[in-house]
């Protein structure tokens, strides 16, 4: 049985035939893309049906986010969102809550609607809008129910008395500690780590993560994605993550596949050494199923978190003189990278600062001279700060870039004032030069660090508009075509799945996203407002409700 999708326009993301009006699919595989007329030879040999639901819509290849973290998302998503900005979820649109009265009333409603005996968690609190909310305020609202108010930045939270009792946090244990205010139930930065250690029994439980992953499925679908990369399997606990993702994502109702890229350091830890880690990583593809698989990819890390200003910077560093941190000792990074390079792996390396990037590039250059490889797909992940000279080297050494452009959207303004000054802040995510030098580029969300909405990422890449409404470093914008490739075919290339998905051509999986208009008609500035009506995963339609 052949299914034919006809549309106002099909954007194939291939150079040979960029546009079409009909695509024939059998057993999840594209037979041919063209017009109803051109498909005729296929129709003479088999039964067929024509899907006419999308004749006024536009089809594109299913979108791809090559770097997100399902397990981190699963921790966050079960919480009730009460936020100062509107958040769109497939299960609800969270309206903006901008006053203290409204915030407190949401907490009360949340308390009343939570079943007896269950704890209450909310995320999104921000003092500027919601005023002071602390243990005393929470005790009045929640009484005996354990409750947590998590701040929007993730870096701080408040516990009520019942939750502190539930977690066994006692006054004499924490009183007077830096970054903990016992009276207010306030835990932040290092104090937060202590609180999370205690909260783990709730937020890392099977029940909690199961609920979170169910929601993640909806989030990924809602963004129009049919392929995502889990870019560090083992971030919290390798076996727990593999089992949870395997059990929950690998189900008929999941309209996407996940490529798992294991965390190299974790491979070493759980197997007792780097060499053993490499050998173990080589066996992972034996576990593959259709929707969750491993390949010959591995995730490494150089420097610290971008959001915490722990990126390692070259001169002149941070304005306040602090220094970042290495997540891997530089000498050790080279040792681990060499083992995986020699074993034929494709290395994806988390780099946030230009010095972190320098280590990644220097190491690649060494490995290339020791044992040259072509098509090695060494990929720079995140790509916060960089120099123009580094992009030349990336190009010459044959590396790829997978950029989190949300950095520049959310942080370019504040890092200009408080961080690195305006010149370097405005040039974070130097993707325009990647296009000029023809470096393979994908865009990612790192969800839950940024919304899992590839069209939104493409909009940032095209406009370089930040959250203050300023256009930052317009010379580093990318073209509309580059931006769209970066969330489809080029993202597929970076994940090594381009023979299977990322464009619409004969022989690939029938992965599509259905849009109300063509991105080429609305232009780059209109990308974020395109409406996603449905996705098609391996030929099966998954409508998006509420549209």
């Amino acid at each position: 049985m052949i299914t034919i999708f006809i549309a106002k326009k099909i954007i194939t993301m291939t150079e040979a035939q960029p546009e079409a009006t009909a695509v024939a699919v059998r057993d999840g595989i594209i037979l041919e893309v063209g017009s109803l007329d051109s498909l005729k030879p296929w129709l003479e040999h088999d039964e067929y049906e024509i899907v006419e639901d999308y004749t006024e819509q536009v089809l594109m290849p299913g979108l791809i986010d090559p770097h997100l973290h399902p397990i981190m998302a699963a921790v966050l998503l079960p919480m009730q969102f009460i936020t100062a900005l509107e958040w769109k979820f497939p299960w609800e649109i969270v309206p903006a809550t901008t006053t203290r009265e409204a915030y407190l009333s949401k907490l009360k409603t949340g308390h009343e609607q939570t079943p007896k005996g269950e704890p209450f968690f909310t995320w999104g609190y921000h003092r500027n809008w919601h005023g002071e909310v602390n243990r005393i305020v929470m005790d009045e609202i929640f009484g005996q129910r354990p409750a947590v108010v998590w701040q929007r930045s993730f870096h701080e939270l408040y516990l009520n008395t019942a939750m502190m009792e539930h977690l066994g946090i006692e006054e004499e244990q924490v009183k007077g500690r830096p970054q903990i205010d016992y009276e207010k139930g306030h835990f932040y930065e290092n104090g937060l780590s202590f609180a999370i250690g205690r909260l783990n029994k709730i937020i890392m439980s099977q029940a909690w993560l199961g609920k979170g992953l169910e929601r993640l499925k909806k989030v990924v679908h809602y963004g129009g994605q049919t392929t995502v990369g889990d870019m560090a399997v083992g971030l919290f606990d390798f076996n727990l993550e593999w089992e949870a993702v395997e059990n929950i994502i690998d189900q008929p109702d999941s309209p996407f596949r996940v490529l798992g890229v294991p965390h190299a350091r974790v491979m070493s830890h759980i197997n007792g050494g780097h060499k053993q880690g490499v050998e173990f990583a080589q066996t992972l593809p034996e576990r593959n199923t259709n929707k969750f698989r491993f390949s010959n990819k591995i995730k490494l890390f150089t420097d610290g978190a971008f959001f915490s200003q722990l990126a390692m910077l070259k001169e002149p560093g941070y304005v306040d003189g602090h220094i970042g941190e290495w997540l891997t000792v530089p000498e050790e990074y080279e040792v681990i990278a060499r083992l995986y390079w020699q074993a034929g792996f494709e290395i994806h390396v988390h780099c946030t600062g230009d010095l972190g990037l320098e280590l990644a590039i220097d190491t690649l250059e060494k490995l290339q001279s020791e044992q040259p490889r072509f098509n090695h797909n060494y990929t720079i992940e995140h790509f916060g700060f960089s120099t123009p000279e580094q992009i030349h080297r990336i190009k010459r050494l044959g590396a790829n870039v997978s950029a989190n452009v949300y950095y520049l959207h959310e942080l370019s303004d504040s890092y200009g004032h408080h961080g690195v000054g305006f010149e370097r802040a405005s040039e974070m995510a130097r993707i325009g030069q990647c296009e000029r030098e023809d470096v393979l580029l994908s865009l990612h969300s790192d969800f839950p660090m940024a919304p899992a909405l590839p069209l939104n990422s493409a909009w940032v890449a095209f406009t370089r508009e930040n959250c203050e409404g300023n256009i930052v470093c317009p010379n580093e914008r990318v073209s509309l075509d580059k931006a769209l490739r970066a969330i489809t075919i080029d993202a597929a290339r970076i994940l090594g799945l381009d023979d299977e998905t990322g464009s619409i051509r004969a022989g690939k999986k029938a992965d599509f996203v259905v849009l109300d208009q063509s991105p080429y008609d609305v232009g780059g500035a209109g990308l974020k407002d395109l409406e996603i009506m449905a996705t098609v995963f391996e030929g099966e339609v998954f409508p998006i409700s509420g549209t």
Binding site: N190, G197, H269, E325, V329
Partner: protein, 308 residues
């Protein structure tokens, strides 16, 4: 002498920092084999490098190894918070923590992390310096700034800054056998530039290996003690003792069950102490009443303490 945050029950921590291959593990192995009854929690990135004699292993899991002498080795495995949580669960069975830091984060940041953590108090900050590499590491493109920051922190330039009082800083030179005396002297004078006082305030004992050595004495007694007499004895303990910890069996005339013997956990930090009723959890409650205290000092501990 302590700020208010140094709680009696806090586990004292020695932070051992230094770059890859500088000799952190060697140092930790020395402390472990020279424990003299101190029950250490050793927090390291990789157990594999510790010399743990298989015969000494009492129990092990993926992330911890318990030794028959009461010490515990705990793998940091990239997750400092989880490891500290684990050690904290065992805190009442431990005396001291040796914490290995890889030397590629801002040392101030690790320090803050330990200080902020309930149940832990940073007491010693030791930097191990590989004399054969330190000068080139300080110029290293990737880690030069961390190395310099460590050396500056190890030689605090403002002696009255808030942290100096309750944290002892020290350095230890390693691989000195690989250099001539003249070359070592050269490294030492180079290191002195990081100390704005430009003068070593270390005594001879500390110069030898750069770090105050522990002296410990275990005081044991079978049978019960009278609480009043015991408290009097505590008041005679001299200022050289920095920490004392252990279980004691006391008879308390003021308790309602007059004359009954109870097991107490003693926590003693530089003259401040607490006795906490601790009858549960010890198998010893059914066995002979054996009080055992460990005293820890940077100076030799006099015989008279044992003659109580």
């Amino acid at each position: 002498m302590f700020e208010s945050r140094a709680f009696l029950s806090d586990l004292p921590v020695t932070l051992v920092t230094g770059y890859l291959g500088s000799g952190k593990t060697t140092y930790i192995n020395e402390r472990l084999s020279d424990a003299h009854g101190v029950r250490y929690a050793v927090m390291v990135n990789d157990f594999g490098e510790l010399n743990i004699d298989a015969e000494l292993i009492a129990a092990s899991t993926e992330r911890t190894i318990s030794l028959t002498n009461g010490c515990v080795c705990c793998s940091l495995a990239d997750d400092m918070d989880a490891a500290m949580e684990q050690v904290q669960q065992l805190a009442h069975e431990l005396d001291w923590v040796l914490f290995e830091a890889s030397g590629v984060a801002d040392p101030e940041r690790i320090k803050t992390k330990i200080e902020a953590r309930p149940g832990f108090a940073l007491r010693e900050f030791l930097t191990i310096i590989d004399v054969t590499r330190i000068k080139s590491l300080a110029q290293d493109k990737y880690i030069g700034q961390h190395i310099k920051r460590q050396l500056q922190l190890t030689h605090p330039s403002t002696p009255d800054s808030t942290n100096v009082q309750d944290i002892e800083y020290g350095t230890r030179l390693s691989k000195t056998d690989l250099l001539s005396a003249a070359a070592i002297a050269d490294v030492q004078s180079w290191l002195a530039h990081f100390n704005s006082n430009n003068e070593s305030d270390c005594d001879d004992a500390r110069k030898s290996d750069g770090m105050p050595r522990f002296f410990t004495r275990t005081v044991e007694k079978t049978g019960f003690l009278n609480r009043k007499i015991f408290e009097h004895w505590l008041s005679t303990v001299g200022p050289e003792i920095i920490r004392m910890k252990g279980f004691v069996y006391l008879t308390d005339d003021n308790m309602p069950d007059r004359g009954a013997t109870n097991r107490y956990l003693l926590q003693w930090v530089s003259g401040q102490w607490s006795l906490e009723l601790f009858n549960s959890g010890g198998s010893e409650t059914d066995g002979p009443r054996r009080s055992r205290l460990i005293m820890i000092s940077h100076a030799p501990i006099g015989e008279h303490y044992a003659q109580h």
